[in-house]
């Protein structure tokens, strides 16, 4: 039985609240883990909450124009929208979100919505570091999209569909049915792409804290920064849920989702703490090299 529209909206809010809180906790805990690896004490896990409250509470001292304001709106709407188009928990009415709007392609392309809007807002700020950050980010993005796209094509061939729910259903009935085990090459390609997507080392040149302090968000402060911080949580959550659905069997309840997404995200930290940073052109060449070949192999394996 399909829920009514008001109910559906209510569910969406609930689902969003869960992912936001969880996403913030995830960021906090990962930061703490990173600190431990580096031999520091690190921040409390709830620090992201404090940051948002603090940012939102400050007065806006500066604006550079309409597009500058709209940047964070685009960004957050992009994050929330992306999540809204992904079914988070299989079989759950609450966490079904608005996934009936479109299939995997809609999610993949809606990811760009926030990035593009944010880039435009940052541009109006007029700060050269913002533009440099965007230039690096977009350039890197085109490169990691290639192994990711190949991986998606491979699983589209494997499952004969781009419908996320159907892909999750096909992986039910034991962990050996997960894409991870049925199509490991596609998962490897996608996970390497995920490193690029998340912007941790070795692909952190986009926000490069030393040379171009934090890149695109350079000019943002107070509540606008708060929105960007909120988005990080939601957007990360959405991407993690998407990966979980596509490659790791999805989730039938919230605890499973939490565990799986935590582990997926942990890969970032694991790699990030071990490797130094690539320059942009190196990153581009890297993604178009071995990961792309793996992606091609994944497609070849299932297509022919």
């Amino acid at each position: 039985m399909e829920p009514s529209i008001p109910l559906r909206i209510a569910y969406a809010f609930a689902s969003l609240a869960v992912i936001t809180v969880y996403g913030l906790l995830l960021i906090g805990s990962m930061a703490r883990i990173s600190a431990k690896v580096q031999g520091r004490v690190g921040q409390p896990v709830w620090q992201p909450f404090i940051d948002i409250v603090k940012s939102s509470g400050k007065r806006n001292s500066i604006s550079h124009g309409v597009m500058f304001w709209l940047g964070p709106v685009f960004r957050l709407a992009g994050g929330v929208g992306t999540y809204m188009f992904v079914p988070a928990v299989l079989g759950s009415v609450v966490f079904q979100n608005f996934s009936m709007s479109g299939d995997l392609l809609l999610v993949m392309y809606f990811i760009f919505f926030g990035q593009l809007g944010m880039a435009l807002g940052a541009s109006e700020g007029g700060h050269p570091y913002s533009a440099i950050g965007v230039s690096r980010g977009l350039a890197q993005m085109t490169a990691f999209e290639v192994p990711f796209a190949l991986s998606i094509i491979s699983i589209a061939v494997q499952y004969g569909t781009l419908d996320i729910t159907k892909i999750v259903m096909a992986q039910q009935g034991g962990f050996l049915n997960w894409t991870l085990f049925t199509n490991p090459l596609a998962v490897v390609a996608a996970m390497i792409a995920f490193l690029g997507m998340s912007g941790h080392n070795p692909f952190s040149v986009v926000i490069a804290p030393q040379e171009i302090p934090i890149g695109p968000p350079t000019e943002y402060q107070s509540n606008l920064l708060g929105m960007l911080q909120t988005n990080r949580a939601v957007f990360n959550g959405a991407k993690l849920v998407l990966y979980m659905n596509l490659f790791f069997g999805g989730a039938t309840n919230v605890p499973v989702m939490v565990v799986k997404t935590f582990l997926i995200y942990f890969v970032n930290i694991f790699v990030g703490q071990a490797f130094p940073r690539f320059r942009t052109d190196q990153a581009i060449r890297f993604f178009l090299g071995v990961p792309t070949l793996i992606g091609i192999a994944a497609v070849v394996l299932f297509a022919f």
Binding site: N60, L105, G126, L224, Q282
Partner: protein, 1038 residues
């Protein structure tokens, strides 16, 4: 009827009287001279009119006896037409030479008259020996006339001419002696069919006559003497040689055709077409105008001879000779006469430098003459070529067709290059320099304009007699002429009138259109009207823009509704021609327009060959893979498919901004239309089968990837958009190559949406570059505050193009990936992902560099783009939004059209949800979700704003410093430097290099061949003798 013998009597009498009359003063002798020429022209016109009214022939037996006792003359329709041509050219030539003739000794006028009389005799006589006499009369008069104004160069050219003519005469005489010995008569009619002609001796005798006539027609490569003569001659005399003498000689050749065997005719055919191809090839290297025209004349005359021989070999009856050879000849003689006269009026000394540029009328005439000579519509040679190629393909003379195509391409290149020099003036592309002044030539312009009018009238007549009576067919030409007449009106008024004209065409054309045609009419005529309106954005008259624009748009419109392949092809060529001139009108359009022209003409020729192979009629043709391949190649060139795209960036970027927009948004779609229509007509089979289609798909995808990649490295906004269009059309091509319901739905959807958003982006950039005076993006910046509407338009454009939901572009991506994956084209899908990612790069770069970032000091007061640009953008914007919210608005008609061809539904609607075997997409729900989320987020942002303060431009966190200048703060130059380091090697213009190498090869070969022309009379004599010997070997007489 006045006997034609009177012509000889009058000429001879006047010739003798002239020296006497000259004693009374030059005015008297000149009056006599002009009276005679005018009278001759009047008589020729009278003859022509009489024979058109009452066909028949008049046989004149001199002395009252019957042949073989006396010399016989014949006057019929063909003869009177040739006489009229000789007379017309003689009048025009004499008019152009009037000053030189009046200043030179009276013998100049006398020899001029003798030459004309000799040519008339060549036309009229039926006696082989008499023919020789007239050959000699006209020959000697020609040598004398070359040197009549006493220049050293002319003297030496005349001598070489005489040597070659002497050899030809000797050969002719030997042939005639043998023929008389073998047949016992000199009368042509009695000789035809005579038993004496059979056998080796007869064939050899005929060959000598034939060889002499051929040499007189200046065949390649034994024509060095003639080229030198053209170079040295007064341009008026050049016109007389090229127009009148060639006509008479061709007529003489045509006369002896009944004596020739098939082997003889084959020699004429191949000698002629080789002359056409190679003379024009050599012409590529020529810059001295009169010498260049000499090559062109030799080539054209060879072409006519080849067409005549071809007709005699393969086609029954004389209609073919009339239509084809006659069409080619009259086209050549009028066009070349006009061009020689133009050269006389505008050039300092035939070295290619111009004294000034022509006004609109004379420039239009020059354009008509060059276009006619090259064989573009609607001029006579166009129709003639069409018929010739049709028959040549039907008789499998493929090499012949290839030579026709190659020669035409070479000729187009150098003639249009000359035209560019003429109408733009000067030789270099220096836009900053003061414009070349207009040279008022007065009476000297009359000849070219008359020639242009004549050629246009004959072209129109050719079209009419072929049954093109549909008003829509004539609309492009009529529209062009109308706006040429209105050219003095203000530009804004003309923009409105042009919008109305295009809308009116649509109103009349639409009822007869199918749904498929209507879809493209929306893009082409709708886009045409929008861009016509946008054409009002510049101040001033915009001289010459609107006639060409209206002609181009309406020919595109007619191409949609044309019912015959010929009608379609005519519209196609006319559109290419209009586009060429519009690109040329750009400030730096010279080289771009020439490359565009070369690809257009080459592509069009392939297309013509394909259409003819496929049977020539839309709807009634048999499936033919070869036809589809040829037509397809021609269309891929127009589409700017990868490898054939080298013309595209320059042509799109260098045209006027509003036309660039139309070019990219609308015009490019006609190739998609034609490709789809071609598949319907010729079937889907290509030589090579499915693999060939896969290759076509990859050509599209490579275009998408490399077009996008090239776009990200451009600093010039228009080049970036041009490469972007190349990439976008690459997707369309790939989708089209899938040939199923999903692929074609995708192709049509992508084409339609590309029309919408690319139009917005081009027009927005047009406004920005109008206001800032530059197209270089890093010189702009921060225009959002000064030009908010243009910004919004560009913003919506880039969101739509990038494929980010919820705007229309996402639909295109969704359709594309679904159809590619469903088809099993996985790697094409992956490459599309890459291309679409790269598209983000240039899109962001453009909007950032132009509209965001730091505004420059000099742009702080710029205004929003003119209303003329803003309104079309807003209309397109509304359409984009409407189609984004309700994708069914556009997808339903598209799917209906596609469903008629491919019933198997890979895509289908369930309510508002579009479903495929792979997934689903609900455009309406998507946009609702996005809008709701966006609005909620927006409200949150607004509610949390606390006393924000709009700060000045430089109030940014800049390492505790304040930036110094916007130029140093606007990060925009070489924006994707890391990308260049990583992948720049992929876009180093290999296609350009490959095509440059091809062009280099052609000019090198031309240069090598040119060494034959040493300028030495003895060498030329040897050439002639060897040439005759080699032709004899080809004859294969045993």
């Amino acid at each position: 009827m006045v006997t034609p013998l009177a012509i000889f009597a009058a000429f001879l009498a006047t010739g003798f009287l002239l020296p006497l009359a000259d004693k009374l003063g030059r005015r008297v002798s000149a009056t006599l001279f002009w009276a005679l020429l005018a009278g001759f022209a009047g008589l020729a016109a009278y003859y022509l009119a009489s024979f058109v009214a009452a066909p028949g022939t008049l046989e004149i037996y001199t002395g009252g006896f019957e042949p073989p006792l006396v010399i016989a003359l014949r006057l019929g329709l063909e003869e009177s037409a040739a006489l009229a041509a000789v007379a017309a050219v003689a009048l025009l030539a004499a008019f152009s030479m009037r000053k030189a003739l009046h200043e030179a000794p009276v013998s100049g006028m006398m020899t001029f008259l003798m030459l004309v009389m000799g040519l008339s005799g060549l036309v009229l006589t039926r006696d082989l020996f008499n023919l020789f006499v007239f050959l000699e009369i006209s020959g000697i008069a020609g040598y004398a006339l070359l040197g009549f104004d006493d220049r050293r160069l002319a003297m030496s050219a005349a001598f070489k001419y005489m040597v070659a003519g002497g050899i030809a005469s000797a050969a002719y005489l030997v042939g005639v002696i043998y023929l008389y010995r073998l047949t016992g008569t000199l009368n042509l009619d009695l000789m035809i069919g005579s038993a004496g002609l059979e056998g080796a001796a007869g064939a050899a005798a005929v060959f000598f006559v034939l060889a002499a006539l051929l040499v007189e027609l200046k065949p390649f490569p034994a024509n060095g003497w003639a080229i030198d003569a053209y170079e040295a001659a007064n341009p008026g005399l050049g016109a007389l040689f090229s127009g009148a003498q060639a006509t008479a000689m061709l007529f003489a050749l045509y006369k002896v055709f009944p004596l020739l065997s098939d082997a003889h005719l084959a020699v004429v055919m191949w000698a002629g077409i080789v002359t056409f191809a190679f003379s024009n090839l050599v012409g590529l290297r020529q810059t001295a105008t009169r010498r260049m025209f000499g090559y062109s004349s030799a080539g054209q005359v060879g072409f006519v001879a080849a067409a005549l021989a071809f007709g005699a070999r393969y086609v029954e009856g004389s209609d073919f000779a009339w239509l084809v050879a006659g069409g080619l000849l009259v086209n050549h003689l009028l066009a070349k006469t006009g061009l020689f006269l133009l050269s006389a009026a505008f050039e300092s000394d035939g070295d290619g430098s111009m004294k000034g540029r022509p006004g609109t009328l004379v420039a239009a005439a020059a354009g008509v003459l060059v276009a006619a000579l090259v064989g573009l519509p609607p001029f006579p040679a166009f129709w003639a070529k069409w018929d010739l190629v049709r028959v040549a393909l039907a008789t499998r003379e493929y090499a012949f067709v290839a030579l026709v195509g190659a020669g035409g391409l070479f000729e187009a290149w150098y003639l249009f290059s000359w035209l560019v020099r003429l109408v733009k003036g000067g030789a270099d592309e220096t836009p900053e320099a003061a414009p070349v002044p207009v040279l008022r030539v007065g009476a000297d312009g009359v000849g070219p304009v008359l020639a242009a009018l004549g050629i246009a009238a004959l072209g129109g007549l050719s079209a009419w007699t072929r049954g093109f009576t549909d008003p829509l067919f004539w609309a492009p030409l009529a529209g062009g002429l109308l706006f040429l007449a209105l050219d003095r009106l203000p530009g804004k008024l003309k923009a409105l009138l042009a919008t109305a004209a295009i809308a009116a065409f649509g109103y009349f054309a639409l009822p007869s259109m199918s749904e498929f045609q209507k879809l493209f009419a929306l893009m082409i005529l709708g886009g045409g009207a929008l861009h016509a309106f946008a054409g009002g954005y510049l101040t001033g008259r915009r001289a010459g823009h609107f006639p060409l624009y209206v002609m181009t748009v309406l020919s595109l419109g007619y191409a949609l509704v044309a019912e015959s392949a010929l009608g379609f092809f005519m519209a196609w060529e006319l559109m290419a021609l209009g586009g060429y001139f519009l690109v040329l009108q750009g400030a730096k359009g010279r080289s771009a327009s020439m490359i565009y022209l070369a690809f257009s003409i080459g592509g069009a020729f392939l297309m013509m060959a394909g259409l003819q192979l496929g049977g020539g009629l839309i709807g009634g043709a048999a499936p033919s893979p070869a036809a589809l391949a040829l037509v397809g190649l021609g269309l891929l060139a127009k589409l700017g498919a990868f490898g054939l795209h080298v013309w595209l960036p320059g042509a799109y970027a260098e045209a006027a901004d509003d036309f660039s927009s139309f070019f990219s948004a609308s015009l490019s779609k006609v190739a998609v239309f034609a490709l789809m229509a071609a598949l319907a007509v010729f079937g889907e089979a290509l030589p090579g089968g499915e693999l060939a289609w896969r290759v076509v798909g990859w050509v599209g995808i490579l275009g998408a990837v490399l077009g996008a990649l090239a776009a990200i490295f451009q600093e010039d906004a228009k080049y970036a958009l041009a490469f972007s269009s190349m990439g976008q059309m690459g997707y369309v091509l790939a989708a089209l190559a899938m040939r199923d319901q999903m692929g074609w739905t995708t192709a049509l959807y992508l084409a339609a949406t590309h029309f919408l958003y690319k139009g917005m982006m081009w027009l927005s950039v047009a406004g920005a570059s109008l206001r800032t005076g530059t197209r270089t993006m890093y010189l702009m910046g921060g225009l959002i505050k000064r030009m908010p509407i243009s910004f919004v338009s560009f913003l919506v454009g880039i969101i739509a193009l990038s494929g980010v939901p919820p705007l229309t572009g996402f639909g295109g991506k969704w359709l594309l990936y679904h159809s590619l994956i469903a088809k099993g084209w996985y790697f094409e899908a992956a490459a599309s992902f890459l291309a679409s990612g790269i598209a983000f790069l240039y899109l962001y770069r453009m909007i950032h560099s132009i509209f965001l970032g730091q505004p420059k000091d000099e742009h702080r007061t710029v205004k929003e783009a003119p209303f003329w640009l803003v309104l079309p953008q807003l209309l397109l914007l509304v359409a984009v939004i409407a189609f984004s919210v309700f994708p069914r608005l556009i997808l339903d008609p598209i799917m209906a059209v596609v469903g008629a061809r491919y019933p198997a539904a890979g895509f289908a609607f369930e309510g508002q949800t579009l479903v495929s075997s792979l997934g689903y997409w609900n455009g309406l729900l998507t946009i609702v979700v996005v809008v709701v989320v966006f609005v909620l987020t927006f409200i949150w942002m607004v509610m949390n704003l606390r006393k924000p303060r709009l700060v000045k431009q430089f109030n940014i966190v800049f390492a505790a410093e304040r930036p110094f200048r916007p130029e140093t703060t606007h990060f925009a130059f070489d924006f994707f430097a890391p990308y260049r380091r990583a992948l720049g090697f992929l876009v180093r213009g290999r296609s350009e290099k490959a095509w440059t190498a091809v062009a280099g090869l052609a000019t090198s070969v031309a240069g090598a061949i040119r060494r034959l022309y040493t300028g030495n009379g003895q060498t030329y004599a040897l050439h002639v003798v060897l040439y005759v010997g080699i032709l004899y070997l080809f004859l294969g007489v045993r």
